[in-house]
């Protein structure tokens, strides 16, 4: 389904470009631009307290409590002011890039673009919110999320770069950890990974324990609630990469609505934005397979008997489908996704779309359908007994080395050249220094997250509780930590 309504990207892009144009105009008006007599500046509007999300007044409705200020450059004698200016230019540039590429980023992604400049995560958090307020738009309209918005459920063990471990309780959905904080993930108990477009379906599948009690074996379920942010894509990319020859990543499937947005969301995970920018290489998951909803799933029974759960395409849907057929590289004739091309054409022929809830009407519901599909797609486990036998056989074969784990991709973690090797052990002062910086950033991030959470909706509070609960690992987590240390 489409994302919630938000201002068109072009409007926000225009605001950012207007800021840079004003700066350029000021420089051009100088007789000698190399030595300007007057400072250039960026105008800002703010309140003493940042307004909560969602109820952001427009510039035309400036309240009496609003303050206006200018951040100037070079601001001789005031180096902090010059630094602020540089920070703003850098953030605006990154926002501009995210909007033009239609990529959702988190504040943490922005921080790691230039940690030497920003110094702390709090800096980025603060100025992103001020920019949003100045422009009179929500943070979401800037294509920024406060944190990774992805949720994950399943059996896996996560080792953080700071040395701590998190044993994820399989029953409870967790916020996706920022991949910058991850050193390794143990997914030896995972037979499949399912990417779900919608949060509601994700929660239904998680609460039905699909990932633990499925006839297809244990799995992981992941959602980014629509179009994915970069952190969730990074997390999935990490799961899909195998750095050792003897470790085969589990298959990754996508469950989307049968509509142009569903295909566009899956395409973002698998191939990146329509413009295959350089960054996509480290985010794409080329092995994703489309589980459904495809025309044969949503329509086979409706086309013959009834008319349940089908919707008409809107004009916007039709335009989006035609745009995708025209502009997406992978949907070209002869491209990588010819079957997706066909499905878009069938949508247009029928003028029909279907939401994944259409499966709920079937015997076995969505969970039953997913299980059947997982089994069809090559997962050979048919019963718990088979699962046990396979597990025991694996134990015997592997001997003492039971755990399979994925180590974080170094290139993937190193956003800038200055960041030292995080995976090195006992490297010395540089490593210790990096650890301290990371820990500090992590703490600030947590505080910032809490602050942002409190005025949020009930759902946000719920997520916060879940997140905090996950952080306070039980004793079992500690023992696992010890085991990991021993192995190291």
């Amino acid at each position: 389904m489409a994302s919630p309504h938000r201002p068109a990207n072009s409007e926000v892009i225009a605001k950012i470009e207007a800021v840079f144009e004003n700066i350029a105009d000021s420089l051009l008006n100088e007789e000698n631009p190399c030595v300007p007599l007057n400072d250039i500046f960026i105008p800002l509007r703010y309140k003493k307290r940042i307004a909560p999300n969602g109820d952001t007044p427009s510039l035309l409705n400036a309240e009496s409590s609003d303050n206006f200020t200018k951040v100037s450059f070079p601001a001789r004698g005031r180096p902090k002011e010059a630094w602020k200016f540089t920070v703003l230019v850098r953030i605006l540039d990154l926002l501009h890039e995210a909007l033009c590429d239609n990529v959702v980023v988190s504040k943490r992604n922005i921080y790691y673009k230039d940690p030497a400049l920003f110094k702390t995560q709090l800096t980025v958090d603060y100025y992103v919110d001020i920019i949003a307020y100045t422009f009179g738009v929500s943070r979401l309209a800037l294509n920024v999320t406060a944190a990774a918005k992805g949720l994950v459920a399943g059996n896996f063990i996560l080792k953080r770069a700071d040395g701590t471990q998190a044993y994820k309780e399989a029953d409870v959905p967790h916020l996706v950890d920022d991949p910058h904080d991850i050193q390794a993930i143990d997914i030896s108990d995972v037979a499949w990974i399912l990417l779900v477009e919608k949060e509601s379906t994700f929660r239904m599948l998680a609460s039905s324990r699909l990932h633990q009690s499925s006839r297809a074996g244990n799995g992981m379920i992941l959602t980014a609630k629509g179009y994915p942010d970069i952190s969730t894509r990074s997390f999935l990319h990490l799961l899909s990469v195998s750095l050792t020859l003897d470790c085969v990543p589990p298959p990754i499937y996508a469950l989307t609505d049968f509509d142009p947005d569903g295909l566009a969301i899956m395409s973002t995970y698998k191939h990146g934005s329509f413009k295959l920018s350089h960054e996509n290489v480290n985010l794409n998951v080329p092995s994703i397979q489309w589980l459904g909803i495809q025309s044969r799933d949503g329509l086979a029974e409706n086309g013959l008997d009834e008319y349940n759960g089908l919707l008409r395409l809107s004009a916007r849907d039709r335009k989006k489908a035609a745009d995708m057929l025209e502009k997406s590289e992978v949907l070209q004739e002869g491209g990588k996704e010819e079957e997706w091309r066909r499905e878009l054409q069938v949508m247009l022929m029928l003028n029909v779309k279907a939401e994944m809830e259409i499966l709920a009407e079937r015997e076995g519901g969505v969970k039953g359908w997913v299980e059947e599909k997982l089994l069809e797609n090559g997962t050979t486990l048919h019963a718990d007994e088979d699962l046990l036998e396979t597990h025991q056989l694996a134990d015997m074969t592997l001997g003492e080395d039971n755990a399979r784990s994925l180590h974080a991709d170094d290139e993937f973690l190193l956003d800038t050249h200055e960041t030292p090797e995080m995976s090195a052990v006992g490297e010395g002062s540089a490593c210790l220094q990096a650890d301290e910086d990371l820990l500090e950033a992590h703490d600030l991030g947590t505080v910032s997250h809490t602050d942002e959470g409190s005025p949020g909706s009930y759902t946000n509070e719920n997520l916060l509780d879940t997140h905090q609960l996950a952080d306070m690992s039980p004793a079992e987590g500690d023992s696992l930590s010890l085991e990991w240390d021993e192995e190291l």
Partner: protein, 311 residues
Amino acid sequence: MSKQYLTTHTIDHAHPTDIFSLSTTASQILSSSGSSSIQVHSTNQPDFPLFQTLDNAHKLGCHHTAISRNEQVAASVGFGGEIKIWAAQDDGRWGERTEIVDGNKAGEIWAIVLSEDGQYLAATSFDGRINVWDNLANGAKIREFETKGSFGMSIDLSVDGRFTASGHENGGIYIFNNDTGRLFHSLPSLVRPVRAVAFSPRGTLLAAAGDSRMIALYDVSSGDQVATLTGHRGWIFSLDWSDTGEYLLSGAFDGKAKVWSIEQRTCVATHTETEKTLWSVKWLPKVGKNEGFATAGANRSISFYREAAGG
């Protein structure tokens, strides 16, 4: 009394993806699909050889084609909404003549039909309008009919050119008088999307069908529904009348093609190659006394049937 049709030939893999539209002349069958090219096969030779490929006709794929009754003009529409007009050349090959864009938005133009001599092209649009262009006036639009704003999914022109019929997503079916430029009849609704409409050869009857899974027959002069043909279990995508008007051919979602006797109001033959969608079905010219038809759809092949001798 049932009729027997035999599968005489199948052009396997005629297209790399779903075939959405078939159009025929006395000696050729044109097929279009989700690929960018239109294929022309000869139907007057035993193995239906490929005669011509209209390369890169529609980048996003082509969903509708039409040929004038005089077989001199063809038209095709792509998923991007562009219309191409093709002219038959002396050697039987098709050459591109013009392209109609007409300020069209992406994908808004949908079903098309050509007048008997190919001068006029009528097309439906997503917002329910029927537009008419004059191909002899460099593709100028000469008329615009408006309906209630529901997606125009199907269209046909009577052989004498007097009437245009359109079927719409909300089940609406309209007949327009081309001489007066006015609505002639608003026919009883099928309630569900009307994916095919077809005038009988003498223009006395109009057949309409779609997601209701039944074929409604209307009297053109009075606008009354005179019959309902039932039996299809899936959505009906295509209708075609035989030259004499004795039989009606239909193709459906579940891969079944049916032949209906108009006199008896019953189905006299049902054929299935696969259970895959049939997007288009068309009668073929008679060979001797035996009638034949072609079907195409999601299995990407074109299948040919001919009535068994001595039926």
